[in-house]
């Protein structure tokens, strides 16, 4: 579905952030929710100042931290939701910082971007990943102190995890997605207690 069609059907596909918070409170979240931050500093409907929370330069990264904290608290504040939800925080860019790890090759999905579209004058077959970006998996079922190392997680892991969990992997998808890692084994610990897990006090 093209993005224009997505936007045209916005009411069916997208909700507002306040709706997300309200849905968390009453436990009416859909099986899968994708949350985007605000990309602009702007005046709110009530006249207040709203800062961009996307953490792109030159936006204040603190606001992104507040935004993530709001999402976390909304889930954490509902016991039933907290015990059945995995929150995955991911970034699509690395912020321009140096990374000593060379981007590895990856399975292609058969699509090649043409030179006119890549901005480099050369085609790109999506056969190589980019530099590393952070990913934080939050759930009471993640074992305390877990740091994942030595495994390659990429963005195709997200649809692969969802397909494996909800459809037992029974769906048409590309080789790249089917052969990517999933997050499921990281969610296999015993449920942790409240004492171990933080709550965020968010500044107004």
């Amino acid at each position: 579905m093209e993005i224009v069609n997505l936007l045209q059907h916005q009411p069916e596909v997208f909700g507002s952030f306040s709706q997300f918070i309200a849905d968390c409170k009453v436990g009416k979240l859909p099986d899968y929710s994708f949350i985007e931050p605000a990309y602009n500093d702007h005046t709110g409907p009530g006249g207040g100042e709203i800062l961009a929370s996307d953490q792109h330069p030159t936006h204040d990264v603190y606001e992104g931290e507040r935004f993530i904290s709001m999402v976390y608290n909304a889930i954490r504040g509902n016991d039933a939701l907290w015990s059945t939800t995995a929150l995955l925080i991911v970034y699509d860019e690395h912020g321009g910082l140096y990374d000593h790890v060379v981007p590895p090759a990856c399975k292609t999905d058969g699509f090649t971007a043409q030179p006119a579209d890549t901005g480099t004058g050369m085609p790109f077959a999506f056969d190589r990943l980019g530099v590393r970006v952070p990913a934080v998996l939050i759930s009471p079922f993640v074992r305390k102190g877990t740091v994942v190392d030595g495994r390659i997680f990429e963005h195709a892991c997200i649809p692969n995890t969802i397909t494996q969990f909800f459809l037992n992997g029974d769906a048409k998808r590309t080789d790249r997605e089917a052969k990517s890692e999933t997050f499921l084994d990281l969610l296999s610990g015993a449920m942790r207690t409240d004492d171990d897990i933080p709550w965020f006090e968010i500044g107004d």
């Binding site: 224009v4 936007l7 009411p11 602009n40 500093d41 409240d194 897990i197 709550w199 500044g203």
Partner: protein, 106 residues
């Protein structure tokens, strides 16, 4: 909060960080262009009066995005169709030469 023994404070950024006059990024520019296309599915009276290409700042972009988003949501459940494209005129029977050919362009 008594229920949570491990509380982490998350501060609010300084008030001076608010910069709605900051120029928009290419990311936001693309979002605006997509929304302006989506806006074509709305009745004309619901269109935002601003030409999307004249938007320069984050504050202006947000106003446009908020307006179009609200209108799209207000049309929920209603049939919205894109404006009809002007069909190319059919040449009348008997006229052999097309307009392009008459001008002699290749």
């Amino acid at each position: 909060m008594a229920k949570h023994s491990y509380v982490v404070k998350v501060p609010r950024p300084h008030a001076k960080r608010f910069e709605p006059h900051r120029p928009i990024t290419d990311l936001v520019r693309n979002q605006l262009l997509h929304l302006s296309l989506a806006q074509r599915h709305l009745p004309r009276e619901h269109h935002h009066p601003t030409d999307v290409y004249s938007i320069k700042t984050e504050g202006e972009a947000s106003e446009f995005i908020r307006h179009v988003t609200a209108k799209l949501h207000s049309m929920k459940g209603k049939d919205s169709k894109p404006p009809k494209k002007n069909k190319p005129r059919k040449s009348k029977p008997g006229k052999k030469a097309s307009r392009t050919k008459r001008k002699g362009k290749s």
